[in-house]
């Protein structure tokens, strides 16, 4: 239940929401016209295509690249695979393996459209059934084991080695962590393929691979039973393989995914069209799989000033919300991000932090908000850092945040060591339990600093969204509206992987999920 410590002008909030909706729908028009190599590889994977060729290239890439190079990806890889399945009487996996031996599937004779449709339907059903089962399993486990009290304590593991990550994750769970995120190695988001197998070499993170997902999920299932809480697993549905990772996560029962409509553009210089198209399909998969997404607005405040730009975070929350809803996500799946990033030297900074956190809390009452700790103003002074985190922990429990990323005292030094995580968990446990009832005890003065700051942010956000709505999101991004970063509308990585859908484009997963999720406003097929 969300506290109403602030008096919000709900008309302005509604106005902002409508502006964001209009912004999102405008982007969506474009999204509907395009597919991407990554979307198509996702389809291939969901058809069961797994493994790599002799050059370690994933078979999903082998197949899609071939179709792309042959210039026939505008029809969707699903069609070509199904056609080959019918033509050769093989499974999609076998077809893919043959592709890596030289088979050219676009060159195969066209088969009976009815049988091709049937094949598509069969493999789609099969795959979606697995995802649905995983979703049910999660729900059953959550019901049986329960979860932490919340704000849910979320920690990262990032040793680079999945087996070391497992040790670290288990130890964290045993000390009170509710959510484990396996941070990705620094280079992965710009790889246009998903590495294969379990991995033990990463820098500042561990490769996101399906095998790694499986290893960690199993370990967390074990430790969940041990601690009597369902421990959630998170990875990054972000970068050039966004929807593929969504599919892998759905199959391996991840529970949350970092997944943002704009992060890749801003922070990885990924092409806009690519990002928008990828995020749409990936969100649909997350929606279907019952996965909670975590958006990345917190990142804005690492490059932009947290006081000046607080409203940009909120604006982006609105946009992420609308783009999420359009893709079929429910409100309870929208882990909108924000952060405790004010300069600790700012007088009354804590009051401003409370103002932002509580404003966002009240504007998105059903969303499992993701609250990020201080990072930018953390220094090598681990003692002071631990105190900054304590104040963050307090702000979180006071404003009823949902997903609470634990700040690490060593934030400015290294990805967390085993003991850093435990110290942080103890910090959060103490502060939150010691002050749990405080939110219900207090109210904010009507004319106080906190209330006024909240009003200012809401006013700013309306103006800001109005400007963006007028110029369009792409132009706004190109003009540095978010995070003080400018990205050209046509530039960025992975732009060549965007393909305009043909009239006969098919994506049976999208069709089926749109139907099941009740997405009507956005037709799945392009009109050329």
């Amino acid at each position: 239940m969300v506290n109403h410590l602030l008096a919000l002008d709900m008309e302005k909030v509604e106005k902002a929401r409508q502006l964001a909706k209009s912004i999102a729908l405008k982007v969506q028009e474009d999204i509907n016209l395009h597919t991407t190599v990554s979307v198509e590889r996702t389809v291939a994977r969901l058809f069961g295509i797994d493994g790599t060729n002799h050059e370690d290239i994933p078979l999903a890439n082998v197949v899609v690249d071939q179709v792309y190079r042959a210039g026939c990806l505008d029809r969707g890889v699903a069609f070509w695979i199904a056609n080959a399945v019918v033509a050769l009487d093989k499974t999609p996996q076998q077809v893919a393996e043959e592709c890596s031996q030289g088979l050219r599937i676009c060159g195969l004779p066209m088969q009976d459209p009815h049988r091709v449709d049937q094949v598509m339907a069969t493999y789609t059903d099969e795959s979606l059934a697995v995802i649905a089962q995983q979703r049910q399993k999660r729900e059953a486990l959550k019901k049986r084991l329960g979860q932490g009290k919340g704000p849910l304590k979320y920690v990262i593991v990032a040793s680079g080695n999945i087996f070391a990550d497992v040790e670290q994750a288990k130890s964290a769970a045993r000390h009170g962590a509710d959510i484990i995120a396996v941070i990705r190695t620094t280079a992965q988001s710009l790889l246009d393929y998903v590495p294969y197998g379990t991995t033990t070499e990463g820098f500042g993170g561990t490769y996101a691979t399906q095998a790694n997902f499986k290893v960690m999920r199993q370990a967390l299932d074990e430790v969940s039973e041990e601690v009597g809480r369902y421990i959630m697993l998170v990875n990054y549905c972000s970068g050039l393989c966004m929807p593929e990772i969504a599919a892998m996560g759905a199959l391996e029962r991840l529970d949350m995914m970092l997944n943002d409509a704009m992060y890749g553009i801003l922070f990885r210089d990924i092409n806009m069209e690519r990002t928008f198209a990828d995020q749409y399909f990936s969100r649909m998969i997350n929606a279907y799989a019952g996965i909670i997404i975590n958006t990345g607005e917190d990142n804005y405040l690492t490059t932009a000033d947290a006081y000046e730009q607080a409203h940009t975070v909120l604006a982006s929350n609105f946009i992420n919300e609308q783009m999420g809803l359009v893709a079929g996500l429910q409100n309870w799946q929208l882990g909108l991000g924000h952060a405790f990033e004010l300069d600790p030297k700012m007088p009354n900074g804590f009051l401003y932090e409370l103002a932002t956190a509580q404003t966002i809390r009240q504007i998105f009452p059903e969303a499992p908000l993701k609250y990020m700790p201080p990072t930018k103003h953390m220094t090598g002074d681990i003692f002071m850092g631990h105190v900054q985190n304590a104040m963050f922990n307090l702000a979180s429990v006071l404003t009823g945040q949902s997903i609470h990323l634990l700040g690490m005292l060593t934030e400015a030094i290294h990805t967390p060591h085993l003991s850093d995580r435990i110290l942080s968990l103890e910090n959060a446990e103490y502060v939150m339990e010691n002050a749990r009832g405080l939110a219900a005890e207090i109210s904010f003065k009507p004319d106080g600093i906190i209330q006024k700051r909240s009003e200012a942010i809401v006013d700013q956000v309306v103006d800001f969204l109005q400007e963006i709505e007028a110029m369009g999101l792409k132009r706004a991004i190109s003009e540095g509206y978010f995070a003080d970063i400018r990205r050209p509308q046509e530039g960025g990585k992975g732009g060549d992987g965007v393909v305009r859908k043909g009239l006969d484009y098919r994506n049976p997963f999208m069709d089926r999920m749109q139907q099941e999720l009740g997405i009507t406003s956005t037709p799945g097929k392009g009109r050329s």
Partner: protein, 246 residues
């Protein structure tokens, strides 16, 4: 190094990474010279890849926070320790043991000696109520426990021990600044020896900075640190007395 090795190192996030955090103050102002001095100290301590992550000027002093990889390791097979906690008997077991093996009450006298006025730790061991879920010695039917309280001079403690014909004395020392406890404990042992009481008495010392090694070094029979409860102490005394009497 792998997870099954018996030769272990500090661990950060990969096996054998040797990660150690340290902090200290140097008596010179912060600056390149102090920074270099800090690094050299860390090097002498056997750290590699030394990272000075924080240097703070304290006006004529400087404070450092460092991380590094320890070159040192420890071979677990070379260490033999006994786990007092594992071997401790329960309240009932201790009493039964005393009844059987000694056949009479054990008499103990406890005190915070010297200038020490921290009674909470000694009370935790001796008072009825006890500590950490364990009853204190006063509650033991087979013990006669005298708690003399705080700031008891060593001679007074020994006098009392003689007076009640004690089997054991229990000394608590909490203040350790400038090793005041070492002076005081040494004096007690010397007095006991001079008065020819040392052999008769089981001598036990406890406190947050006390451990078995220090206690033995100072001539005590046992030392009990943080987390000790009456069970540990009574077990030790009962067994030790049985051994002495046999």
């Amino acid at each position: 190094m792998n997870p099954n090795d018996k030769v272990i190192k500090p661990y950060g996030d990969s096996w054998g990474d040797g990660q150690v955090q340290l902090s200290f103050t140097l008596p010179i102002a912060a600056g390149p010279l102090a920074l270099e001095a800090a690094k050299r100290l860390a090097l002498q301590m056997g750290l590699e890849g030394v990272q000075v992550v924080n240097m703070k000027d304290l006006h004529g002093f400087s404070h450092f926070i460092l991380y590094g990889r320890s070159r040192h390791s420890v071979d677990l097979d070379q260490i033999s320790v006994v786990d007092a906690a594992d071997e401790a008997m329960s309240f009932e077991e201790v009493n039964a043991f005393i009844e059987e093996e000694i056949g009479r009450k054990i008499v103990v006298v406890g005190a915070c000696t010297g200038t020490d006025a921290h009674t909470v730790g000694l009370d935790a061991i001796m008072n009825m109520k006890g500590y950490g879920g364990d009853y204190g010695l006063e509650r033991y039917p087979m013990m006669e426990a005298h708690n003399l309280g705080s700031q008891v001079p060593n001679e007074v403690l020994l006098q009392k021990a003689v007076e009640v014909n004690a089997d054991a004395v229990l000394v608590s020392q909490v203040v350790t600044q400038k090793n005041v406890h070492i002076q005081n404990l040494t004096e007690l042992v010397e007095m006991a020896e001079a008065e020819d009481l040392r052999r008769k008495l089981i001598m036990v010392v406890g406190g947050p900075r006390i451990d078995q090694a220090l206690a033995t070094e100072l001539g005590f029979d046992a030392g009990f640190g943080p987390g000790s409860t009456a069970r540990h102490v009574s077990t030790f005394i009962a067994k030790e007395l049985a051994r002495k009497l046999s």
